[in-house]
Amino acid sequence: MHALIRQLLSRGPVLTDGAWGTQLQARGLPIGEMPEGWNLSHPEDVCGVARAYVAAGSRIILTNTFGGNRCRLEAAGLSDRVRELNLRGVELSRKAAEGRAWVFASIGPSGKMLLADEITRDELGAAFEQQAAALAEGGADGLVVETMGDLDEALLAVAAARATDLPVVACMVFDSGKNRDQTIMGLTPEEAAKALTDAGADVIGANCGRGMGGFALICARLRSATDRPIWIKPNAGLPEIVDGRAAYRTSPEEFAGGAQALVAAGASFVGGCCGTSPDFIQALDQKLHAGTQVSPLLLPG
């Protein structure tokens, strides 16, 4: 086990953070604009999101770099700023953490499909290497490969992330198939966990999906197929449109109600995905530490 991961887990489950995109939109990010661009144009707002998660109890916060790969930034006309956007993303989260939380930098999918020949393996691997190197250079404590639907793409991202020597978390989305427990490509949690373990990921997980409900089972199935710690970040269910805006019906309390089942199923890192907010993290914090003496935070560095 990576030394940092062992240290983090020495006092029980670790609270991670919630959604970033919806939080930035609440701060005025226009519809359809790439959030990563705000690392340069609205650093205070980006920092504000991170700060709110630290205040809510997150011991690991992520970075505003989910779409920070060349392929995605190209579509937004930002492909010449990959390094800059990623460096800045880590810097802003570090600044917000102020030594009270660890910063694990986010690496999301490219939006291109290998299977449909939209991109070659070499191009995709190079795009992830470029992003991972910039995130490491910026001083991230770890890297999180997340929201992956295609194992081949996830493996390329994990390889790129591992080349930095930082601990690597690898998460996929299981929201397809009859029981909403397979990836869009049809992979089961067991198959994914095994492949990601073989690829050398330090932590294996699942994020996004169809709300808290299905995650305990997915978590247990990941747990059964790997010796690595498990990372779980469910979304707040599917949104509904209320008065012309996307609204998530799940309340922080309902969401947090699933936390203990997750831990019982073997989750070591718990947080939220789309639709969750600092309120959700705070509610999770209370549930996870209900009735127990909250240990002092493990301070980075």
Partner: protein, 228 residues
């Protein structure tokens, strides 16, 4: 009459080379291209769609079958065009303004082509006026709108409003889809139809081309309509 089953099987199992080779040989031996389309290709893609909806097929199988279908269709389309045959229908497809995601849209486009539609793909981040202009210019029957984000799905409404304002709402059916889109949302914004997945979208597009009768109320629901 020569058996078209090998073509059906090749498409169903995603064997592009086999599908193309069989089509070449069948055409050379004088088989009517329409026999291939109606006897093997369309039924095969229908079955692919059914398997996808039953969660037996996933994205990879769907892509491979669509590719096999296309490789056969490339040989057949010029022959059909030469004899003046019309496509099943003309679809303008795109991811709405503000949204840069194209995987779902590309899957739907591939399946629609496989289903015999002429597909005009406008790409991602497509402004409403571009949809309007293309529908006019190409005299399209269907507009298919895609969005992945909860924030950009509202651009679907803007697009439908623009089509309405341009006075061409009556001439096209508007279909919507994408991860955050629900039947209720489709109703709310005045779309003609909604499908939960790519395979359903093809059935839905076909329904819109069929004479009325399968339409439930003002909306067309893919899942509740049998394939033609």
């Amino acid at each position: 009459m020569q058996d078209t089953n090998p073509l059906y099987e090749a498409i169903l199992t995603g064997q592009a080379k086999e599908a193309r080779a069989f089509t070449e040989q069948a055409l050379a031996s004088g088989m009517d291209p329409l026999t291939l389309v109606n006897g093997a290709m369309s039924p095969a893609m229908d079955e692919v769609g059914r398997r996808f909806e039953r969660n037996e097929y996933f994205v990879p199988e769907l892509l491979l079958s669509a590719r096999a279908m296309k490789s056969a269709l490339e040989l057949i389309r010029p022959l059909l065009t030469a004899r003046g045959a019309q496509p099943t229908g003309r679809v303008v497809i795109g991811t709405v303004k503000g949204d840069l995601h194209d995987i779902g849209k590309n899957l739907v486009a591939a399946l629609l082509e496989g289903g015999g539609f002429e597909v005009i793909d406008l790409g991602v981040n497509v402004p409403p006026e571009k949809f309007v202009a293309t529908v006019r210019e190409k005299n399209a029957h269907v507009v298919a709108l895609s969005a992945l984000l909860t924030t950009t799905m509202l651009s679907m409404k803007t697009t439908i409003d623009a089509i309405q304002d341009a006075g061409i709402r009556a001439q096209v059916k508007v279909l919507v889809g994408g991860a955050p889109v629900t039947k209720k949302f489709a109703d709310d914004i005045g779309a003609d139809g909604y499908s939960e997945n790519a395979a359903g979208a093809v059935a839905l597009a076909r329904e819109t081309m069929a004479p009325a009768g399968c339409q439930k109320g003002s909306q067309i629901v893919a899942q509740s309509c049998p394939l033609p």
